[in-house]
């Protein structure tokens, strides 16, 4: 009998060795995250911030799409819902970031619940289309809100301060975002390792069977929709602070697709995959830009932006066709080889 390769989050939590290994990995990850900005330049800190922020958005999306099987293009809209709720709370009531994020999460949960409602009746391409429609409708609502509240430029955010402490510096911003990302990672890990995680997978794979096991398919789906969009909306507030502004023209369908590309490239249904995918996709423009600077001049490299568009497309295609389990697949097979070898 061959050894099964269960996704790590579903691996046996009762197995002590796996637990130790996982704790070890977690400690290592935290160490890397903390040490990173201390050893790299401010620019790479910014790149790392982008990646970590992208993870904080991709991971909840992966929970929804990868684990619960709800293919959604609504994540950019959830970001704008969060950003504008956050802006409204911040500017109108002069609230601190944590409060703004909580309120944004609540708004995100509500909107996610509503956008998730069609998932009770629709599946596959139809559900995807409903999220596409939701994207445009929500962004339109945000536009109207923006026009009435902030003007055409959108909301301009002041440098981040919490309890009188200035957190807008590169490093402090990085730590704030990393801490939030860690929280998101923890929540998702907890859920997916619990029995509810199993239920979520069951709803994805066989909803009739899930119902036959006493799992409320509707409740499970709506929970995941609300939870995932709450997390994305909260991330939206941070993102807006980080970018310095929130303007509807930023929240495009392409932005939504970028996060979908991340979870695809990283690995569907895997938290580690979300992280790898976020890093990878964030790095593509950075690397193409560096390459074109290093070897620029003639040929296609003279048009790095076009080249980048092509490369981005090729990466997506290549992963779907050649590595459907994503980057995390490499990690898993490497780990398996290690385990079998030693």
């Amino acid at each position: 009998m061959t050894q099964s390769i269960a996704p790590p989050h579903l691996a046996d939590p009762a197995q002590p060795r796996a637990g130790v290994r996982r704790t070890g990995l977690a400690v290592l990850a935290v160490a890397i995250v903390v040490a990173l900005p201390l050893v790299v330049s401010p620019y790479w800190t910014t790149v790392a911030t982008n990646a970590v922020l992208a993870f904080a958005i991709a991971a909840p999306l992966n929970l929804l799409t990868g684990n619960a099987g709800q293919f959604s293009l609504g994540n950019a809209a959830f970001l704008v819902v969060g950003a504008y709720t956050g802006a409204f709370v911040t500017f109108t009531f002069d609230m601190e970031l944590p409060i703004a994020m909580l309120v944004a999460a609540a708004a995100g949960a509500l909107v996610g619940f509503i956008v998730g409602l069609p998932s009770l009746r629709l599946r596959g391409a139809y559900l995807l289309m409903s999220t596409l429609a939701a994207h445009y409708i929500l962004v339109f609502a945000a536009l109207k809100f923006q026009t009435s509240q902030f003007g055409a430029a959108g909301a301009i955010f002041p440098p981040l301060r919490v309890a009188g402490v200035d957190l807008s510096g590169d490093r402090s911003m990085y730590f704030v975002i990393a801490a939030f990302a860690a929280l998101i990672g923890l929540i998702i890990t907890n859920i997916m390792r619990s029995g509810h995680g199993r239920a979520i997978e069951a709803v994805k794979a066989r909803d009739v069977a899930a119902a036959a096991c006493g799992i409320s398919v509707a409740r499970t789906k709506l929970w995941v929709w609300s939870l995932s969009s709450a997390m994305i909306a909260a991330a939206g507030v941070l993102q807006a602070y980080y970018l310095g502004s929130a303007s509807v023209e930023f929240y495009t369908l392409n932005l939504a697709i970028t996060y979908v590309a991340m979870i695809l490239v990283g690995g569907l249904g895997s938290l580690g995959g979300s992280l790898l995918g976020a890093c990878f996709v964030t790095l593509v423009p950075v690397v193409v830009n560096h390459l074109s600077e290093a070897y620029g001049g003639g040929g296609v490299l003279a048009h790095p932006h076009e080249l980048q568009t092509v490369i981005y497309g090729l990466i997506i295609i290549a992963f779907v066709l050649l590595k459907p389990d994503g980057l995390i697949g490499f990690v898993r097979s490497a780990a398996r080889r290690l385990r079998n070898g030693g």
Partner: protein
């Protein structure tokens, strides 16, 4: 945002404090940040090509004060997050003496705080006038929007007399908002009636509904503030919608595509711009044409004022570097930018002079252009 403008932060106080950012003995780094593959790419790529031509020429002639100019370019793809990352890149990883580009107004607004904190000069963005004038690190050579509004209203009253009904078509970004406010303020001075505004997305393809509304409002003229995409959308839709009234555009859409897309309306389409196209009969033409022909860009861009605009900005940078001397720092560079004698532009625009104000000063600098069907050229309107 004005209050936060000077906010510098503790753990990454702008490298601007350092003396020689982006400068070594042999090179100086300047970076262009722009939308090179998004909806505004047609304009911003051309602009970049013009800048590059000026810089390449300076490098070919041995550089400036012994230094070659290392011109970097980063593509925002019309994405604020990319703009923020690139800003970081070109102020810390590959620290640049100055930045060029940043033409999308919402990005520009998002970055203004960082620009102040970083104390990095940004030359030539065409964003929002309010922000430009409020931020001492931003230097703009293009017609600012209040000046454009003034010029356009005057022109309209000369062409159409009083009581003209004017429709406003504007890009749905921050600068569009500003434009509408300004034009509304300006219009009563010529007794014109503003009949409301129609927004146009940066990536709009057509504007049938906007044109239908203008027709219903029975406008006598349309003012346009948009990028080239929005201009095409409006003008093409005016033709298919049968709206035959003059169009008055700001600098935003005054490239050749404005008149190309105007088709039958070309002769009654006007653009107000501080910059003239490369093939204008100005003193600097021989110089620019020779450089463009060598670079092989003459045929493609000879009618595109965005190219000339880039060329001028590039030359302003080169000239400032010269003036800043051997001892090049951001401070000395900024001082050179503000030098009272200003910069000559070969007649492609009024002389640039930032000694008093970091935007364009006087209304005479804004010229009106239209299309001459006879010569098939974009020409200045000398006698309106």
């Amino acid at each position: 945002s004005a209050g936060t403008q000077e906010a510098a932060t503790k753990d990454d106080a702008g490298t601007g404090a350092a003396t020689n950012v982006g400068v070594t003995d042999s090179a100086v780094t300047i970076a262009y940040i722009g939308d090179l593959s998004g909806p505004d790419a047609a304009v911003e790529l051309t602009y970049y090509e013009g800048i590059k031509l000026a810089i390449d020429r300076a490098n070919a002639s041995g550089g400036i004060n012994g230094r070659t100019i290392d011109l970097k370019a980063g593509d925002t793809r019309f994405d604020t997050a990319q703009a923020v990352t690139l800003f970081k890149k070109y102020t810390s990883e590959q620290p640049s003496l100055a930045l060029l580009g940043i033409n999308v107004s919402s990005m520009f607004e998002a970055l203004t705080t960082r620009i102040s904190a970083e104390k990095v000069p940004v030359i030539g963005p065409t964003g929002v006038t309010k922000v430009t004038l409020a931020n001492p690190y931003i230097y703009n050579a293009q017609a600012d929007l209040p000046t454009s509004a003034e010029a356009i209203t005057k022109f309209i009253s000369r062409q159409l007399g009083a009581n003209a009904k004017v429709g406003v078509a504007r890009i749905s970004t921050a600068s569009g908002d500003e434009w509408f406010d300004l034009f509304q303020k300006e219009a009563p001075k010529i007794q014109a009636e503003v009949t409301g505004q129609q927004k146009i997305e940066p990536a709009a393809v057509e504007a049938a509904a906007q044109v239908a509304q203008f027709k219903r409002d029975k406008v006598d003229a349309v003012t346009l503030h948009a990028g080239s995409g929005g201009a095409i959308a409006l003008l093409k839709s005016m033709q298919t919608g049968g709206l035959n009234v003059p169009v008055f555009s700001t600098f935003g859409a005054s490239g050749p595509t404005l008149w190309k897309s105007a088709g039958t309306l070309a002769a009654s389409t006007y653009a107000f711009d501080a910059f003239a196209p490369p093939d204008s009969d100005v003193p600097g033409r021989a110089d620019l044409e020779a450089a463009m022909r060598t670079a092989g860009s003459w045929d493609k861009f000879q009618q595109d004022k965005n190219y000339a605009e880039g060329w001028v900005i590039g030359n302003v940078v080169v000239e400032s570097l010269k003036r800043a001397g051997k001892d090049l720092t951001r401070a000395s560079f900024i001082e050179a930018l503000r030098s009272p004698e200003g910069f000559q532009t070969g007649g492609y625009s009024a002389d640039v002079n930032w000694s008093k104000k970091n935007g364009l000063a006087d209304a005479s600098a804004v010229k009106a252009f239209t299309f001459d069907p006879g010569t098939q050229r974009i020409v200045e309107v000398t006698n309106p």
